[in-house]
Subunit: 153 residues, 4 copies
Amino acid sequence: MKVDPTMLSFDIAQRIAHTVLEEGRRRGTAPLTVAVLDAGGHQVVLYRQDGAGIVRPQIAVGKAWGSLGLGFSSRGIAEAAKRFPGFFDALAVASDGRMFPAPGGVLLRDGSGVIVGAVGVSGDSSDVDEACAVIAAREAGLVPEPAVPTASA
Amino acid sequence: MKVDPTMLSFDIAQRIAHTVLEEGRRRGTAPLTVAVLDAGGHQVVLYRQDGAGIVRPQIAVGKAWGSLGLGFSSRGIAEAAKRFPGFFDALAVASDGRMFPAPGGVLLRDGSGVIVGAVGVSGDSSDVDEACAVIAAREAGLVPEPAVPTASA
Amino acid sequence: MKVDPTMLSFDIAQRIAHTVLEEGRRRGTAPLTVAVLDAGGHQVVLYRQDGAGIVRPQIAVGKAWGSLGLGFSSRGIAEAAKRFPGFFDALAVASDGRMFPAPGGVLLRDGSGVIVGAVGVSGDSSDVDEACAVIAAREAGLVPEPAVPTASA
Amino acid sequence: MKVDPTMLSFDIAQRIAHTVLEEGRRRGTAPLTVAVLDAGGHQVVLYRQDGAGIVRPQIAVGKAWGSLGLGFSSRGIAEAAKRFPGFFDALAVASDGRMFPAPGGVLLRDGSGVIVGAVGVSGDSSDVDEACAVIAAREAGLVPEPAVPTASA
């Protein structure tokens, strides 16, 4: 199988997941779970740290998958869901529970703006989850959305 | 198959379920359903008393499973869901209906703080459900979360 | 909720599950999982012994549920499935995986022939699983189908 | 959340996944996907190499989950499924597609024989998938089942 050059490579995905955990350690976060998905929404790397609850993989995957699903970050999904709660409840069902209205799901673009995948983090507060994801994406040379760590209002 | 000594044994699970029903009888509760799960979220004992409705097993299992999913009691889930309703609606789907925002799902820890399972009770008011679970866990020598029966605000 | 007198009571269900495990101990079986369902196919008692694998509850429940589904034992389902494999593959899907073509799911009738529930056992060979279920049903004063332990050809 | 010392740690899971890929590289296999699950069947590490198809995560997870489900390797499941095809078709549904009758799902035991998790590999022939899993488990100091790489008849 020839690999699409715009696809997120396993090496880059592993590096992003590794940096998320490093950033978590630096900040002293709760145990983190991180999922890195390719542009098709399929897992490339998943890490669940000791002490993370058993539903964390679904949350980390869902934050990333939802971002790919709509083409913006799960922070954006959280904002949209405030205005259209019924729509996003329906979307949670339609997506098989992979559409989480909470920060921590970050789109990954290459230098030319093409979406190459997404990363989702769960375990600490959503703002901290997202900050770890954004920092890791930038460290790997990708362009994350959001571009910089932000804080919920 | 050799058994992990730190896992919730069938004997302890049966004792917890038995005590839940005894406590219910003492209090004159509505018919109760109680589920005791191991740390991986799998059923070890389930009891459904005469007169309990047909969806009670799903509720009892879900209260316990959700506690294991996030690492805190279903009372904590109820509190968090008040602040983030859309997130917990999505989580209900992602967990296949095993994330109930209502007291009655109680984490079980051994003496050294390790999570060994969870118990979920459904049938009476959520506060009473939880009280029966907490009392039964303590009677079996385990450390429940919450540690003592509490009342909803 | 008034209780249907033909319903399997919790006390009888508990007694059946208890006897299944006693019979298993007497025979030195592998760890057993036993599910007792009411006539509507809903769990009344589930027991999973130490060392039983994590999918055993689904198998025990499914053997019993399938018996209720078609009105004959899961041994009968195994025989029918040999003649109509495609039909029973479809039925496995249609029943959400609760139609197991293997002995160990036993119908429970009262003295007048009314189906009051079913018991399913999983863990040892299917013949042994079924023998424990049949013996436990008779011990509780119910009429099992099959009526006596049998052996697969 | 305090961590059970007998649980498969993230560090060990990561080491096993890493060694699987190294062994694959040494043998020149097709792109591999490897999943390491804890004893409850929940993902700890998942790796999917460049060029691996999009359903490979489900296969790798399923091979490992099925081993935990029944308490023996997916090679044993493949052998049992030859004798009872209808039963295992039903089990595939009951387990939500996590019961693969093919080598490559390997149980992980600690030195005292306790099951601490499972590893599943998919991508090359099933025999090669399993060999990589067995070698990686042994390298990490765990006792795999099967104990040594074997070849299908």
